[in-house]
Point group: C3
Chain length 139, copies 3
């Protein structure tokens, strides 16, 4: 059994879902792993992770809209507004989605279903560079 860690930097152009499955697979391609466990960890509390449908881009738009309705950027609702109206909503949306994901590796491939992609969910309006740690246990 071996371990590897790696940090990805994912540039965002503001709010939305960014597919980085290919970046993960590129890193895995350099590791002779047959069976293992991949952990994906987001080092922020105003961006998060989600595994979602990767076919129709409307899914990402509808998902983003849903979170706008669920946690609206209405300053009257929040105390914590130091960084603007999208500050507290980002923390809420992050808590409701995921900071870590675990994906088994089987026969040298991630166990993702046919229609599943791994997304960074940016909750802030401004562009950011987001740090995501990858950790693999394998043999």
């Amino acid at each position: 059994m071996n371990q590897r860690t790696h940090q990805l930097q994912i540039p965002t152009r503001g709010k939305g879902l960014y597919d980085f499955t290919v970046e993960i697979e590129k890193w895995l391609a350099g590791i002779p792993a047959e069976t293992g466990l991949l952990t994906v960890f987001c080092r922020h509390s105003s961006a998060s992770l989600v595994i979602q449908e990767n076919a129709d881009p409307d899914v990402r738009r509808d998902l983003a809209d849903f979170f706008e309705r669920l946690a609206p950027a209405d300053p009257k609702l929040y105390r914590h507004t130091a960084e603007g109206p999208d500050d507290m909503t980002s923390h809420i949306r992050s808590a409701l989605t995921h900071t870590s994901l675990s994906i088994p590796l089987h026969q040298a491939r991630l166990a993702l279903g046919t229609w599943q992609g791994v997304y960074l969910f940016e909750h802030r309006s401004a562009p950011h560079r987001r740090n995501v740690v990858l950790h693999l246990i394998y043999e």
Copy 2:
């Protein structure tokens, strides 16, 4: 340290929560594992995983009702309606619950609390067969 992977197929009769803790324990029973880490991974974005109370079935009904209110199957709310009014709501409910779960194994038993069961949460109205990957690292 060793690894094992396995794929379960969980038949659903449409929307609702399906306890499959016993199927997991049945698989674990054939592995001489004392300490370890179990990962449960759902290979779909219109069904998900959740650990919930396994005593009163009303908890599952109330939970299902809550998600009906939270993400109603109202076609006016969504662009992505190709597979019907329960299509986009399934992706939303999946993002709000879990695609992967990690459960430690201690003294040859899952660390689940007394009242915790592992559920597949089916979000589509029609019956499906859902693929769930189990991965165990152990010794």
Copy 3:
């Protein structure tokens, strides 16, 4: 590769978010781990886990308020009210946040971002003692 498990007991004073990052780090300090994977598992379905901002306490208050609005303690909404109006809302809030978290360990430190803390999210009004299992794979 080695494994260790440990159970923390986290006392709560009722609803709210309780930072226990220090308790985790205290346990890790006694283990000669350079690289690894930490799993945090909550053995309850009426309390949960969340990684959140650890700077401004208003974030925790706003987050708690958000969940009060999202799943209000209105007995008319739920069948499962055996343990009072905060019973079913606890299960809902637990399903929407996390029962397990996975955090990589790199260069003998958790991969947490600068502003990230690990919280127990107590959903019941009464004080409780909550059991959280820690599992570490490392070398």
